[in-house]
Symmetry: C2
Subunit: 247 residues, 2 copies
DNA sequence: CGGAATGTTGATATGCCTCAACTAAAGTGG
DNA sequence: CCACTTTAGTTGAGGCATATCAACATTCCG
């Protein structure tokens, strides 16, 4: 878990991701490649940061998934986003000292931790790098807005289909799908705590989606049987993700 | 509606707001004071920007309120945030070209429009100004996260109390309250479309909150009768707003 | 002053939650 | 590697919070 300054897989993953929405010059790329970072491996369900923490570095997901969530009085969790390779789930900590939410691993995950000092230094040298990461945080916010609408204004089946659409669409844009399949080791309980549904309802909704021939979700594997159908069921319009290439 | 370059009320309002969460040097303040802008007055319910637009400037609310919302297929709206004097409800448009949501006036409102060019030029001159506005967009995101949790995991009474707490807390931090009162010209329909409740339920919940002696909402005026009680009912913890001074 | 928008209240319907009992899978120690 | 324990997933029955519908009252606004 030593600091690395060689051009690594971590740098490539971050650069690839930023290029999904931002234009980077050769100098930008060189600067990002020079960022020092450490690697951290997380067990399933392990917290990367907790509510109230004031982390000194931000993470880039290298493999697996992580999720962000609020912890309520009654011990209930509310998840609001899932993150996959290339995402920076706590980039906001750069400018907001104390965490108002936690980040945990969903299934085993590996992240690269980049000290805030490093990033801030990079920002002053090349503002475009800052703008790319700013844009990243703005897309995050767009995803949150969509989640508000999803959980507030859509019936359960639509709601779940929409989440599946988003996950698959983002994964595919990042080259993380295998055919019509994406490994998302999310439990039914977690789906319920994401979509504001009881577990029983989660299960029945999964069954309903399966019977509609659109999508299967089984043992943490999302399999898209009919994308167009799923998009229709899920009322999904990817424009809020603000990615360059249309699928 | 001519462009202005004198130190105006608009500049003061923005600076005051940014200082709620960020430290600004004299040079930062001077730079902000030099920003060119135009004034736009909005009628109640008038859109400032629409879904799909690509605005060339961003707004600072000077008076009144504006709200952000999604428009669904069925014509339903989902509001996700309300903004008051000092807020920049579409600062995200700086780095995300096309709007994935709309912004409208809630009651008559006045905004200052600052061209993106102006802002971008300011950012390269003084990164701290960029960081302050970046932080502003990050607090926005925190508010969205809280809205997800609020609408997904809290019962209706708690949910409404929480929204009222947030509005009052933010208004008070910006000096927009008068005693225990804040003018929020939101209709019941809009409350319903914010909190994912039917209008009938909105009305009954308002009555319930009134009878609990915590808060009154009548004809667009929010009156806090018992702040502590409201905080308790609303399960409200202001830390997610990341403002400097505790109330 | 009249019409439209907003707010109010009651009665009924229903989507989803809760509870409960059970099955299957995965992880653990002997 | 198997027995055991724990966690995850499945299914049915019943209840309830909140939606829906409807009819009316009030306020706003041209």
């Amino acid at each position: 878990m030593g600091a690395e300054r060689t051009v690594s897989k971590a740098h490539q993953i971050l650069i690839r991701k930023l290029k999904e929405h931002s234009r980077l010059t050769g100098e930008d790329v060189a600067l990002i490649n020079s960022l020092v970072h450490t690697i951290r491996e997380l067990n399933s369900d392990e917290d990367l940061v907790r509510q109230g923490d004031a982390p000194g570095s931000s993470a880039v997901v290298l493999s697996g998934m992580v999720a962000r969530y609020h912890l309520l009085q009654n011990g209930r969790r509310q998840y609001f986003s899932f993150h996959m390779a290339g995402d920076m789930p706590d980039s906001q900590a750069l400018f907001i000292d104390t965490m108002d939410h936690a980040v945990c691993a969903v299934g085993p995950a590996i992240v690269a931790l980049v000290p805030h000092k490093e990033l801030m230094a990079a920002f002053t040298r090349r503002p475009t790098v800052a703008f790319a990461i700013w844009r990243e945080t703005l897309i995050d916010a767009a995803i949150f807005r969509e989640a508000i609408t999803n959980n507030s204004a859509r019936p359960v089946t639509t709601r779940m289909a929409h989440l599946f659409c988003e996950l698959f669409y983002r994964a595919r844009a990042s080259g993380l799908t295998e055919g019509d399949t994406f490994a998302a080791p999310i439990t039914l309980v977690q789906l319920g705590e994401t979509l504001a549904m009881a577990i029983a309802t989660v299960n029945r909704t999964i069954l309903e989606l399966r019977s509609s021939q659109a999508v299967e979700f089984h043992r943490g594997v999302l399999q898209v049987r009919d994308w167009d159908r799923m998009v229709e069921i899920g009322d999904f319009n990817p424009s809020y993700l603000h990615l360059k290439r249309p699928t």
